[in-house]
Point group: none
Chain length 360, copies 2
């Protein structure tokens, strides 16, 4: 960053920032995050920061009518405090004392962790996005198999899907497997299995929806005891909030119906309700043109994963460019990108900067 | 036991034994186990030991031509080493160095555990049933709803159903739930769920068969990751060995078919193949008469649960008397018995002792 003439600083949430020296002209923010999950790969987040760096370098001869601020967001995954997007929330002015008092698994509060890192949480306001920032651009690996299946290197993200997360508990009756005839059982795992298939069947038929049961705890969990209680997680995602909510309601009603028919009890606890976030329609179109001008068939898609752009979109027009993920693999050491896709992404980025320069 | 004049000892497998002082006369063995499953009730096993104690007490004025050895078997359920009937296997002479080298979840071998408990596994041979033992009688709660449904307090057990236990592993692909479309998933939990329903549907339609998936482990087990691997237990029971084996083969083939269709891998590991065991026909008839003489309509039934009598029947003529289980509940804190049923059981037991005395 320094060798490219940027002024480097770390804000109170630990975001690494490279600001243009000339503070009078408007600013474009480019970046992504530099944290990732345990046992992850090398590209999730970091690639978006490096592509920003490449664009700052590439545009030096261009004499753009705006400056570029480069951002390496901290703590996007939320591993330590189980709360994602901490870095981008600081830019959006969405950090309050309640958030700072959240504690990690060792009982250390976020405020204490920030102090221990040598930063001052009382300077959090200074991390806010400057008023002269007119747009945000984030490059990110897709982390899924859609582009690979389509045979395309890049996509313009039009929205980030909303998420509902619900914990569902099935309560039947634990009994000895040898002595309880099939017709007298109230098997919590059989009920949960019927529901898991219902969730999969529904989501397969519903356009643009993914629904997943990823966690399942079976009690008492012995091979010779009919399961008495099962706790399951449900995760539902869709670009439309209304569709997501109606899908979630339908699936919980299915769980209730299955339990009623099998004479089981069930209960639900909502763990997360995250609305979908559209990217700026004007910038999505600009990204599509920029991708096409790089010689690539443009494609729009919805991101099923959350990103910092989801937070920034609430305070500034935002856009995202996805790069193909070989094998759809992410959050895994085998995560990768193709060199030629990265070249296309830089080309598309330069085209996007030129578009913004013409518009400015 | 001591107050009833029995000589108390603990053998090398941890069985608590009360032997008659007079070692010259032949012996009747009476007993059951004193271990149970986690979060269980108060009667499974223990009631059979206490009824033996009651019979030793009741027969003191009877001057029987045989002695009674009372047995509180250890480790019938097999919780720690996932291998049941350890106590009765010691009596049957079925403990070898391979069994003793089996390790628990913490890596401690059975041999080490026996030493740590203060016993000497090298004295295992001394735990064998003495040659002068001519019969074994076990009282046990039914642990199922059959007697309650029939409105009867007691039953003569004519056979113990065989069991097959198999571990089934479904291997798919763990992926990000938000970025992996439904049609590109290889969800190990969805495959397992489909199979669990197939197991239940099959057993409901098959006469005299019970089949259960009681244990299920889902990896990685996060709400936002498509399950990549599921390990499930299968337990199949039937009075007919041929029927049990064909049912087990059919259900494993179903797992394979489901995995083939979903492009998953699966593997099987047989944990237990226990043949069905008939009780001594002569003693079953004697038990029926003893029950009838106690003023109770006699009933014969097959036990779906395994019992120590299943092991003992291989080395000595054996019989079992079941007591009604209110609500069919067992392996649960609500497990119970009716006081009047216990009275009938003691009466039937005394009648059985008198029959043996006449026969001797």
């Amino acid at each position: 960053m320094e060798s490219l003439g940027l002024q480097v600083s770390v804000d109170a949430m630990g975001n690494l920032r490279g600001s243009p020296i000339n503070r009078e002209i408007p600013r474009l923010l480019i970046g992504s995050h530099i944290d990732t999950v345990p046992n992850a790969g090398a590209y999730d987040g970091v690639l978006g920061v490096l592509l920003g760096l490449a664009l700052v370098d590439a545009c030096r001869p261009m004499e753009l009518p705006f400056g570029i601020e480069l951002m390496a967001f901290s703590e996007e995954e939320g591993v330590r405090f189980r709360l994602p997007f901490l870095g981008s929330r600081a830019l959006a002015g969405d950090v309050n004392s309640r958030l700072l008092s959240v504690r990690d698994a060792n009982g250390i509060s976020m405020e204490e962790a920030i102090f221990a890192f040598g930063l001052n949480p009382q300077q959090m306001e200074e991390a806010r996005l400057s008023d002269d920032t007119f747009a945000f651009l984030e490059f990110h690996i897709e982390q899924g198999p859609v582009l690979e299946k389509a045979g395309l290197p890049l996509a313009a993200v039009e929205a980030i899907a909303g998420q509902s997360r619900v914990t569902v508990v099935f309560v039947g009756s634990a009994n000895h497997v040898g002595t309880t005839p099939m017709d007298l059982r109230r098997d919590a795992l059989a009920a949960a299995a019927e529901w898991i298939i219902a969730v999969e069947t529904f989501a397969r038929a519903a356009d643009g929806c993914v629904a997943t049961v990823g966690r399942l705890q079976v009690l008492p969990g012995a091979s010779n005891v009919v399961p008495g209680e099962v706790t399951a997680s449900l995760d539902v995602r869709h670009a439309s909030n209304a569709e997501r909510k109606s899908a979630t309601d339908f699936l919980l009603q299915r769980a209730q119906d299955i339990c009623d028919r099998r004479e089981l009890a069930c209960s639900f606890r909502t763990d997360l309700e995250q609305s979908s976030v559209p990217m700026s329609p004007e910038l999505v179109t600009a990204v599509e043109h920029a991708i096409a001008a790089a010689g690539v068939t443009p494609k729009r898609m919805v991101s099923g994963a959350g990103h910092d752009a989801m937070i920034l979109a609430q305070v500034v027009p935002s856009a995202m460019i996805f790069l193909r993920s070989p094998g759809g693999i992410s959050h895994h050491p085998d995560e990768s990108v193709l060199v030629e896709d990265v070249e296309k992404a830089i080309l598309a980025g330069i085209n996007f900067l030129e578009h913004l320069a013409r518009r400015q």
